[in-house]
């Protein structure tokens, strides 16, 4: 546990802070529980606390950083037993259990602040039952990361349609490589493929209804999605034995050039760069359209801050949340030296990084359909598990599709009841 007693009030003036005018006179203790436990995110969290502390010299800030995985099991515990004033969590359905249980504070009043109008792109993800329950602090794009040098060698260009994607893939297969590497050992990677194929085949609203339990898994739309997926599987587009690999273990295929691309979040970039793929070899494209007229939508998992309902210093907590999302703070914490992800505030600037720029551009300008969180955050945890097991099975034994869908439907009837 680290204590930051603010001392340098002068520093406050040098820190740009949009919503700070009414923030004077905060006092007492602000307890923050954070899951930003890795070195870089931890430094970001500590830096934010320090800067916020400098703005509010009378406020004692107690920061507890908990290991990210442990945090997932502990949050239930501390939200009920010994609630902090601010806590990290995730957007959309992942916060639903706590919202439904009345453990998160309704902070629609914070969102009513005009300064938060710049957060429109993620507002939907923070909204449940028409109210907002937290603020985002970072997100990142998903998309296809591909070997530009292989594409050049084969004379291919970034695909604009699914047909092009398939013809590219055929050319790659003919050259003795695989089109996509994937490691489905821990299931969620297959969820990414399903998200994109389904959002491109049926659109964002359909996808949201499906993960929300309003559309049965035996619906024709779902079958169309799997039919598209099957085309790729039948071509042999994915690496063999993918059920044996974790996502990190699937990276060597793209590094060695045995596979030409990977559908993944932006977090795949640092290890690929370390392994020797510089920006001339690695490039990014948005997953192409499948059904014509379906607005493109993206997966962009969002990490968030919330105020527990049992918090004691809610006034200070609200100020901290506003501070977190302010444009300057967003620019700072999401730059390449810190989180290396995308700022949630539209007025923030993005770090000078090829992939971050493309991602920011894509999410702010080229994702008219909406922004999804990711399959295992959009669907309830139990459903996500059953469904992703089904995706994995489908990728290995596509002929089992009817059985899989019937199973998912039965599970959905039980889970969404």
């Amino acid at each position: 546990m680290k204590m930051f007693k603010a001392t340098a009030a002068a520093l406050a003036l040098s820190v740009g802070f949009g919503a700070g005018a009414q923030a004077e006179g905060l006092s007492g203790t602000l307890k923050i529980f954070s899951d930003m436990s890795n070195p870089a995110p931890r430094a970001v969290m500590e830096g934010m606390v320090e800067r916020f502390g400098a703005l509010h010299p009378d406020l004692d800030i107690e920061l507890t950083v908990i290991d990210r995985e442990a945090y997932k099991t502990q949050i239930r515990n501390f939200l009920t037993a010994n609630a902090p004033d601010v806590a990290n969590w995730y957007a959309a359905n992942r916060m639903k259990p706590y919202v439904d249980a009345g453990l998160f504070e309704d902070i629609s009043d914070v969102w009513a602040d005009p300064a938060l109008a710049d957060l429109a792109s993620t507002k939907g993800a923070m909204t449940l039952d028409g109210k907002q329950w937290g603020v985002p602090y970072t997100y990142y794009q998903w998309g296809v990361y591909y070997r530009a040098d292989i594409y050049n060698e084969l004379g291919l260009s970034e695909p604009a349609s699914f047909d092009e994607m398939k013809s590219n893939c055929q050319a790659i297969l003919d050259s003795g490589r695989k089109c996509y590497t994937i490691g489905t050992k821990f299931l969620w990677t297959a969820g990414g493929w399903f998200d994109y194929l389904n959002m491109r085949t049926n659109g964002y609203d359909y996808h949201a209804k499906l993960t929300g339990g309003e559309i049965p898994w035996t619906d024709d739309g779902v079958k169309a999605t799997f039919a598209n997926w099957r085309e790729l599987i039948d071509m042999g587009a994915f690496v063999d034995n993918h059920t044996a690999y974790s996502w990190q273990e699937s990276l060597p295929f793209i590094v060695s050039g045995d596979a030409a691309a990977i559908l993944k979040g932006n977090f795949a970039v640092p290890p690929l760069r370390e392994a020797g793929l510089d920006d001339s070899k690695l490039d990014f494209y948005q997953f192409p359209a499948i059904t014509e007229g379906v607005a493109l939508s993206e997966d962009a998992p969002t990490d968030t801050f919330h105020i527990p309902a049992k918090a004691e210093n809610k006034e200070a907590a609200r100020e901290f949340l506003k501070f977190v999302v302010s444009a300057d703070n967003q620019t700072l914490i999401n730059n390449g030296d810190n989180l290396g992800q995308l700022p949630v505030n539209a007025k923030s600037s993005v770090d000078d990084d090829k992939f971050l720029k493309e991602g920011f551009e894509m999410l702010s300008a080229n994702s008219p359909g909406g922004v999804a969180q990711f399959f295992d955050r959009d669907a309830p945890a139990e459903m996500a598990k059953v469904a992703m097991e089904g995706f994995q099975e489908f990728m290995v034994k596509p002929d089992n599709l009817d059985k899989i869908l019937a199973r998912l439907d039965r599970a959905a009837k039980r889970i969404y009841k």
Binding site: I66, D67, Q248, P252, F253, V255, P271
Partner: protein, 282 residues
């Protein structure tokens, strides 16, 4: 019944044996070799798929340096010591007394009390998970080293009592009777007659319990959270980043965490092997 010693077997079998032994040994140790190898590799070797080859660069100093100076590992190691040593001491003290009582005194419930200690060993500890966690929470000992130590002592004393009681049973009872005839007080019999004789058993048990507790992972993650109280077995997972696992650092950390029990084993090898058979045969 008894295997023929290898030097008396035919030459051809001797050769096969000598050839197969190293192979079996290497295969047996393969996972450990992989971990040791990875602990000196850079992170990029994992992404390039260089699992078994030579390290692309020799990162011994860097990886182990990070483990010791840029992570909470020293803290976790220290926690492990503070959890393991008090547990060993507590178990030894309690079980030598319970073992003495159950082994020397004849009273009606003797066998039943003994059975209760033994039965404790047969309870699968997973089913105790929720009640023990609630108990430590109610006692205010959740997420403290004390809580973990108390629980380990309570749970390990069952096994230790079995161990001690059987050992004391095997001692010549005449010694105790002679002392009684001489009019020596019971606690002095315990202290001056039985305890010195128990020394080899105590040493053996201390080594066993040390390795048990040092390697405990289950209770460490159930009863503690965070660097201020977790032992090293649980702490290694802190090298799992949000998106990726730092396998090279985890390997280095595992090697470091495994050293104390290994060192303990080699230093006390004699006692350890004695410990595995002591008390088991009467």
């Amino acid at each position: 019944m008894f295997p023929t010693p290898i030097e008396k077997s035919p030459r051809s079998w001797q050769l096969t044996y000598q050839a197969l032994l190293p192979v079996a040994l290497v295969m047996w140790l393969l996972p450990l070799i992989a971990v040791a190898l990875f602990s000196i590799k850079p992170d990029a070797d994992f992404t390039t798929g260089n699992y078994w080859g030579l390290p692309s660069s020799f990162n011994f100093v860097e990886n182990y340096g990070k483990v010791f100076f840029a992570s909470d590992m020293p803290r976790y190691l220290l926690n492990s010591v503070f959890i393991t040593v008090p547990t060993v001491v507590g178990c030894v003290i309690l079980s030598s007394m319970t073992g003495f009582a159950l082994g020397v005194y004849k009273f009606k419930a003797n066998l039943w009390v003994f059975f209760m200690f033994v039965a404790g060993n047969f309870v699968p500890f997973q089913i105790l998970m929720v009640p023990v966690r609630d108990l430590t929470l109610d006692l205010g000992l959740y997420n403290t080293k004390t809580g973990l130590v108390l629980f380990h002592i309570a749970f390990q004393t069952g096994f230790c009592t079995l161990f001690m009681r059987n050992f004391i049973r095997a001692l010549p009872f005449d010694l105790i009777e002679v002392a009684r005839v001489e009019g020596v007080a019971e606690w002095r019999i315990f202290w001056y007659v039985v305890l010195p004789l128990m020394k080899p058993a105590l040493a053996a048990m201390a080594v066993l319990i040390f390795t048990f507790i040092w390697n405990d992972f289950f209770w460490a993650i159930v009863l503690t959270q965070g660097a201020e109280s977790q032992p090293v077995t649980a702490g290694i997972t802190s090298f799992n980043a949000q998106y990726r696992a730092a396998y090279h650092l985890m390997s280095a950390g595992s090697i470091v965490a495994a050293l104390p029990p290994v060192a303990m084993f080699f230093l006390m090898q004699k006692h350890f092997i004695a410990g595995l058979t002591l008390g088991a045969v009467k």
